[in-house]
């Protein structure tokens, strides 16, 4: 048995690869997680941004002419958003509002109040470029100044707080990914150094007979690209499982997912894995090939 082992040919470019694959895989997984977070957040903020509204309550004694004038003014303002050529403004009369209220609560307030206390109202959607806190206040004041407007109400946008949280999480994820990348580069560096050291006689012989650098580098580079691809595949698989698990727990999550984007992330991880493997190995092997063999000893 020992004899068979001894006769097994040393393959140029082989090195203990399990730890390298695991490290690249871990770094890619965190990077993939970051990418998934970004696309989910983008989709979520897109949806939220499309639905930022202001309720414009009108005076009770308003005339039809005044109401139509307000509608015209609101429609002409640049902060009122437009979708598919349609101005995003809708009118809800106090009767419709009362009906909706009764439907939702099941209580008919007109029986004990005697009259409808609700007001006619316009709902306008605000264009995304006006979602800043100060801008929203300015819009509120602008509408409030219109003749016939009783009150302007809006719910402060969630976008700012989402962006704040996402920035924080992204910062941490990118930090962890950067640390892992450094660890991967160092690990590959040391692994290649050990591989070159263990194969120094083979390499010395090749150098002395006149083998070109490419002949010595080739096997190392081919293997590291393969290992990077394998790591990318594992990382994509892990992310896929994580997504499925998350979708099972929170079914609404799938509405934020774009299959093409997710596939692009997986493909990106494969390419990134191959690139990390190639560049780190190229750097490491060049560093050690530039040394004289006495130095490598």
């Amino acid at each position: 048995m020992a004899d068979i082992k001894q006769r097994k040919k040393k393959k140029l470019g082989s090195y203990p690869f399990v730890s390298v694959i695991l490290s690249i895989c871990l770094a890619l997984f965190v990077i993939g997680l970051f990418a998934l977070l970004v696309i989910h957040t983008n989709k979520l903020t897109e949806i939220i941004k499309e639905n930022v509204e202001m309720q414009v309550y009108l005076n009770k004694d308003i005339t039809d002419n005044q109401r139509i004038q307000i509608q015209k003014t609101l429609s002409s303002r640049e902060y009122t958003s437009e979708k598919n050529g349609e101005i995003q403004i809708s009118f809800i009369s106090k009767e419709e509002a009362a009906e909706d209220f009764i439907k939702e609560t099941g209580e008919d307030f007109s029986k004990f109040i005697g009259e409808n206390p609700l007001r006619d109202a316009y709902t306008i959607k605000i264009a995304p470029e006006f979602h800043g806190e100060d801008q929203m206040k300015e819009i509120q004041a602008d509408i409030q100044s219109l003749n016939g407007v009783f009150e302007v109400v809006y719910i402060p946008s969630l976008v700012a707080s989402i962006n704040e949280n996402v920035t924080l999480i992204s910062f941490w994820l990118l930090g962890i990914a950067a640390l892992l990348m450094i660890a991967v580069v160092l690990l590959i560096n040391n692994t290649i150094k050990l591989a070159l050291f263990s194969q120094r006689f083979l390499i010395r012989s090749m150098q002395l007979v006149g083998a070109k650098r490419g002949f010595i580098q080739g096997p190392f580079l081919r293997r590291s690209v393969l290992h990077g691809l394998i790591a990318g595949l594992f990382a994509s698989g892990m992310l896929y499982l994580l997504l499925r698990l998350a979708n099972d727990r929170v079914p609404e999550l799938s509405s934020l997912q774009d299959q093409t984007m997710i596939l692009a992330i997986f493909a990106g991880l494969l390419v990134l894995g191959a690139m990390i493997g190639f560049i780190s190995t190229f750097r490491a092997i060049n560093k050690y090939l530039n040394m004289s063999l006495d130095e490598l000893y």
Binding site: L202, M206, V209, G210, S292
Partner: protein, 237 residues
């Protein structure tokens, strides 16, 4: 100074340094095509450093040297493998790969030096093995060969690319006198067929019994038997 086509090695005002120390100072010499030259001197006297400079393992920092048409003083990293294909190197510690047979050892070197065609590779393999007298050892593993036979395979490996210069550093250092004589004869035969041989050795008897040009590294100088007389015995040990 430019490369002389009749000279395999020509060096002018060369100084060789190692670890900041001057090993050989302002030496000039040349080796003609087809010459057999011994290189002798004390251990640490500069023989190996000179050989390393010739095959561009040690950068030449001062002076000019041409080897097989390559300017060693200004050689680019890319050019080094091309130079080494023109130099056959035989070392005491430049061993065969113990994990593969003679054929695989030689084939590996051919692949590493850009041989592509299988049929040409096989023909060349047979040629060099016959030339070193090991026509029937192609499938043997190194451990199945004697020390002398292993050294013959190493010489066969050095001859694969038809070198202009065969550099041998102590090629008989590990062999008994009888086997050494056989290996030396092989070098002489190779030299007679036109290959220039530069052999570094400590073997006093070998140098004495086989008259040839001698270069001697001594006191940072290179003495040349073609130009002056010097005592061999004190310089060797």
């Amino acid at each position: 100074m430019s490369a002389d086509p009749d000279k395999v090695v020509s060096a002018s005002e060369v100084s060789i340094f190692q670890s900041g120390q001057t090993i050989l100072d302002n030496i000039s010499f040349s080796i003609e095509k087809g010459e057999f030259v011994f290189l002798i001197g004390r251990t640490g006297g500069g023989k190996s450093s000179l050989l390393k400079t010739i095959y561009a393992d040690l950068p030449l920092q001062m002076g000019q040297m041409y080897v097989a048409g390559h300017a060693i003083h200004s050689i680019k990293r890319k050019e080094v493998p091309i130079l080494r294909r023109k130099i056959g190197i035989v070392f005491q510690d430049f061993q065969l790969f113990p994990d593969r047979n003679v054929t695989d050892n030689l084939m590996f070197v051919m692949k590493a030096t850009g041989w592509k065609e299988k049929s040409k590779m096989k023909t060349r393999l047979t040629e060099v093995l016959i030339r070193v007298g090991l026509g029937s050892a192609a499938l043997k593993m190194p451990y199945q060969l004697s020390g002398g036979e292993q050294q013959r395979v190493v010489i066969a490996r050095a001859l694969l690319n038809e070198p202009a210069l065969l550099v041998a550093d102590e090629p008989t250092g590990n062999l008994d006198p009888e086997v050494s004589r056989g290996i030396f004869k092989l070098f002489q035969e190779i030299n007679r067929s036109g290959t220039t041989v530069l052999m570094a050795t400590h073997d006093h008897e070998l140098v004495k019994n086989n008259p040839a040009r001698i270069l001697k590294c001594e006191n940072r100088e290179l003495l040349d038997s073609a130009k002056e007389d010097f005592d061999l015995s004190t310089s060797i040990y």
